[in-house]
């Protein structure tokens, strides 16, 4: 097995993420009920079902096309905050991936960084604002450290997933500054962020693809 992503592996990642979100849907919505508007689970379910359908209907020719199809599906089917955020993340990964047929550890790291940049540019959240950024930022950092040492991919992704989970747990004591939870002010403290929770599932699923 080559130590790089290709379209079939990306597809495995996507369907795995869809399954994980399907399973965690109630939990995501429950988290969003406490500090938001009780729809993060159904939003992500709707979007990922559409994304999986899109890539299986017209299998993308390269990694860039794959990410763009996923990104557009999320943008066009989710709505709310998570649609543009996850959508931008995948669209930017697609820009960096371009027409590449495979993404080795270095290039995939650049894709992740571009996705994170897009997410932050779109949502303008700082670390500590109690958002999905608090899971993704440490995940990308951890990935980069392992990648700087030359990999392998499974180690980089596993480190990323662990860092994401830690970041997710770290959102609980935070007072939200972005998204709907911010309207609650101090009432948002003590609740785990739903977006950081789904973001952690994304990295955990990625690690499993190479495990």
């Amino acid at each position: 097995m080559p130590d790089a992503w290709d379209v079939p592996l990306l597809t495995e990642w996507l369907t795995g993420f869809r399954d994980a979100v399907d399973q965690a849907g109630e939990e995501l919505t429950a988290l969003d009920s406490a500090i938001g508007d009780a729809d993060h689970g159904s939003n992500m379910r709707r979007g990922l079902a559409a994304a999986v359908a899109a890539v299986s209907q017209a299998p993308p020719a390269d990694c860039g096309a794959f990410f763009k199809t996923v990104g557009m599906s999320l943008v066009s089917n989710v709505g709310g905050a998570s649609g543009p955020l996850y959508g931008t993340l995948f669209l930017r990964m697609g820009t960096v991936a371009g027409t590449a047929g495979t993404l080795a550890i270095q290039l995939f790291g650049e894709c992740l960084q571009a996705g994170l940049d897009g997410l932050v540019q779109r949502g303008k959240a700082q670390p500590g604002d109690k958002t999905m950024v608090d899971a993704m930022l440490p995940a990308v950092r951890a990935y980069d450290e392992v990648a700087a040492d030359g990999g392998p991919m499974v180690s980089a992704l596993t480190a990323a997933a662990q860092a994401a989970a830690q970041g997710r747990d770290g959102t609980t004591p935070m007072e939200a500054k972005k998204g709907r939870a911010s309207y609650l002010g101090e009432r948002s403290v003590g609740h785990q962020d739903p977006g950081a929770t789904s973001m952690t599932l994304l990295f955990e699923t990625a690690a499993k693809v190479f495990a």
Binding site: T29, S33, G36, D37, A38, D39, S42, N43, V75, S76, N77, V78, G79, G80, A81, S82, G83, P84, L85, G87, R122, G123, Q126, K177, K178, G179, R180, S182, Y183, L184, G185, R187
Partner: protein, 331 residues
């Protein structure tokens, strides 16, 4: 959950179908979930597009018509529409003079409209955006998501819609819209939670003797809970934080008391009577009044007060004819 619905996941499309059946003045694209005027405005006029989650009716679909919006995009219940809807609407209503997007300040709404505006610009359509953020219950800050856009949105759509009808260009309409957005302040209170059809149960539980103070329009809990109080005390809780935040003693004010969906008119009028007394005591001149359920939160029982500073120009646009299902006066 006791509602007049069939399948909870079909509520938005079925309600739009009912709107289409009830109003020949509208054309409803049920696939894209966009409400248009049946008779588009003439070439060379700026078009107004708004939208947001469903469950706030008559906003926004009910405000499509002469003197107000050209199109309204309906998202899922309490979920902002996607860029595809907004882009489709923007393209459809552009008459060559540009399109103004009227967006309530919620992360999702802002981002989805932003993406649609980028796509429309790529298609050569001039798009400007105004974001309403009038809810004083939320502390304003550049480091946060900022205030929610609530009641002033209705007033803005009316005022800027009238100006657009008269042939004003995009730049001056945008300036007018910003002026309205900046001059408005709102505060809301809920006696009961609403129920999102897909969720099937009330978003929060509120005991018989409690109310939520500082709510938005998405059935979310407010800033704090308080014991249920008589109407005159509640009126005080609405007026005070607004006046603490902005001065309305200079010039004229438009007062808008809004019902949240399940509040009967007899209670709204009673509340308005209490509000009017306080405003008069504070030396505020209410030049125009709107009382009714225009921006709702499904079947929530509650109300919100919006005050808007209005000069003669704003009042003139306010008084201008409007002909929509939700707001209608003049010729």
């Amino acid at each position: 959950m006791k509602k007049f619905i069939n399948d909870p996941s079909a509520v938005v499309t079925e309600a739009l179908a009912g709107m289409a059946a009830a109003h020949p003045s509208l054309r409803v694209d049920l696939d894209q979930r966009v409400v248009y005027r049946a008779r588009p405005k003439p070439d060379g006029r700026v078009a107004l597009v708004s939208g947001g989650g469903s469950g706030h009716e008559p906003m926004h679909g009910g405000f499509v018509g002469t003197g107000m919006l050209d199109a309204a995009c309906a998202g899922e219940v309490f979920t902002s529409p996607v860029p595809d809807q907004i882009l489709a609407a923007t393209k459809e209503v552009d008459r060559g003079a540009g399109v103004l997007h009227i967006v309530k300040n919620y992360t999702g709404d802002v981002m989805n409209f932003e993406m649609a505006a980028e796509l429309a610009a790529a298609d050569g359509i001039e798009v400007a955006t105004v974001v309403t953020a009038d809810d004083v219950a939320v502390q304003d800050s550049t480091y946060t998501a900022g205030r929610r856009g609530v009641g002033v949105t209705v007033l803005l759509e009316k005022i800027v819609g009238a100006a657009a009808e008269s042939g004003a260009d995009l730049e001056s309409l945008t300036a007018l819209a910003r002026r309205v957005a900046e001059g408005g302040r709102s505060m809301g209170v809920a006696l009961t939670s609403g129920t999102v059809p897909a969720a099937g149960q009330p978003t929060f539980d509120l005991p018989e003797d409690q109310m939520e103070v500082g709510i938005g329009i998405h059935g979310e809990p407010g800033r704090r809970r308080e014991p249920l109080a008589p109407a005159h005390e509640i009126a005080q809780m609405l007026v005070e934080p607004i006046l603490d935040d902005a001065d309305f003693t200079q010039g004229d004010t438009i007062a808008f008391l809004n019902g949240m969906g399940a509040t009967p008119e007899i209670e709204l009028y009673l509340m308005y009577g209490e509000v009017a007394k306080i405003l008069a005591d504070q030396g505020i001149t209410v030049a125009r009044t709107l009382v009714g359920s225009y921006m709702t939160s499904l079947d929530m029982s509650g109300c919100s007060l919006t005050l808007l500073s209005a000069d003669d120009e704003l009042l003139r646009w306010w008084d201008a004819p409007v002909n929509t299902p939700g707001l209608r006066w003049g010729r």
